[in-house]
Amino acid sequence: MAITTKSNLDQLVSSAQNGDRNAFSELVRIHSLGVRNVVYRVCGNRQMAEDAAQEAFIRAWTKLSSYSPKVSFKSWLYRIAVNAALDMLRKEKRILPNALEDLKLRDINPTPEAMLASTERADLIAKALSSLSDASRTVLILREYEELSYNEIAETLEIPMGTVMSRLSYARKLLKEKLAVALFASAEDKNG
C-alpha cells in the first residue's frame, strides 16, 4: 500500500488541477471516508450522504482551478462537502423527523432496556444532532467526529477562530440539554 505523504498529496492535487483524472480518482479514494463521514453526520441519512459526497467530489473537480494551496486541500474539500450536504438537506426539505419532538415522545415512558439499547442510543444521538442549527452542527461534527483543530475548522468554514469556539461551546451546551434526560444521566452513572 502506497504511503501518502503531504508532498504526494500536493502532487496529486497539482496533477488533478491539470486535468489528470487518475490523480483525482486517487484523491477521491484517500478522502472518501472522511468526506462521507462528514456529510453523513450533517445529513443523518446514508443514501443522502452517498449522493452528497459524490456531488461534493464532482463540485471539487469542476472548481479545482480555483483551489489555492493557501488552505489545505482537506479543508477546501470539507467545505465543499459540508455545503453539498446542506444543499442536499434543503433540496430534500429536511425529510428527517424533528429530533427534539422525537426525543420528547420517547421520554414519556422509557424502559431501561430500550434506553440502553445501543441502536436506540445511536438513533437518539443522531436525531439530537440533527436538531441543532446547521452552523452549530457543522462545527461540532468537524471537531468531535473528524477531530479537526480549531484552526482547521476556521479554515474549512471560513470563519474566525473566536466564532469556532463560541459555536462549539453553544452546540455542546445545547446538545447536552437535548440529551440530558435520555442519555446523559445514564452515561454519567456509568462513568461513575
Binding site: F24, S25, E144, S169
Partner: protein, 202 residues
C-alpha cells in the same frame, strides 16, 4: 477560590490550550469541584457522541470509481478557460499598448505638421502629410462653395483642425480609461464571487 474557568473547558478538552493557559486550567480543575464536574460532563458528551455509529459505506475504491464515472469532461474546458484567463489578464496590457501607440502616433503627426508649417519638410513629405491630414475638410468645402472667405475661412479651418485633433485625443483617451475601469470593476466582482462555501454562514 479563583474565578471559574468554564469558558476554557471546551478548548482544554479539545487540546487547544498551550503554556500558561493550559497550566492555569489544570491547576484550577484540581481544586474546583464545579469546573471539574463541568469538564467531566463535556468529556461524557464526547464519549456519547462516539456511540453514534457510521453506516457501512461502499469501499473507497468502489466509491472513487463511481465518482470518476460521473466526472464531467474537463480537458477542453480547462484549456479554453486557461486561454480566457490569460486573455483576461492581458486585456489591461493591451489597453496600455493601444494608449501608448496612439499617443506616439499623434505626437509624430503633430511634430510633422509643425515641421511642415515651418517648411522643414521636402515636397514629397509635404504631399504625404497633406493627403493624410483631413483636418479641415468641412471648412475647405464651405470655402469652395463661397460660404466662407478670408479671415472667417482661416478661423473656421483652425477651429475645425483643433476640434478634430483635440476632441479625438480626448475621446480615445476617455474610451481607454472607461474600458480600463470596466475591467477593474469586473475583476473585483469576479474576485468577490470566487469564494464559495459560505452558505452556512448567517
Amino acid at each position: 477560590m479563583a474565578k471559574h474557568i468554564l469558558d476554557s473547558l471546551g478548548a482544554y478538552l479539545d487540546g487547544e490550550l498551550r503554556g500558561r493557559e493550559l497550566k492555569k486550567v489544570e491547576t484550577h480543575l484540581s481544586k474546583c469541584e464545579l469546573c471539574a464536574e463541568e469538564y467531566a460532563s463535556l468529556k461524557s458528551l464526547s464519549e456519547i457522541l462516539e456511540e453514534a455509529p457510521l453506516p457501512d459505506f461502499s469501499s473507497p475504491d468502489r466509491f472513487a470509481a463511481d465518482v470518476v464515472l460521473r466526472l464531467p469532461r474537463k480537458e477542453m474546458t480547462s484549456i479554453r478557460s486557461k486561454v480566457l484567463e490569460v486573455g483576461w489578464w492581458l486585456a489591461p496590457v493591451g489597453l496600455i499598448a493601444i494608449w501608448v501607440f496612439l499617443g506616439i502616433t499623434n505626437l509624430l503627426n503633430d511634430t510633422l505638421l509643425i515641421a511642415n508649417e515651418f517648411g522643414f519638410l521636402n515636397s514629397t513629405a509635404t504631399s504625404l502629410i497633406s493627403s493624410a491630414n483631413p483636418d479641415a475638410i468641412w471648412s475647405a468645402r464651405l470655402g469652395n462653395f463661397g460660404f466662407l472667405a478670408g479671415n472667417n475661412l482661416q478661423w473656421a479651418r483652425t477651429v475645425e483642425a483643433f476640434t478634430r485633433t483635440t476632441a479625438s485625443h480626448i475621446l480615445w483617451q476617455l474610451s481607454i480609461a472607461v474600458l480600463y475601469l470596466i475591467w477593474i470593476a469586473v475583476s473585483w466582482v469576479r474576485h468577490e464571487h470566487r469564494g464559495f462555501g459560505k452558505s452556512i454562514e448567517g
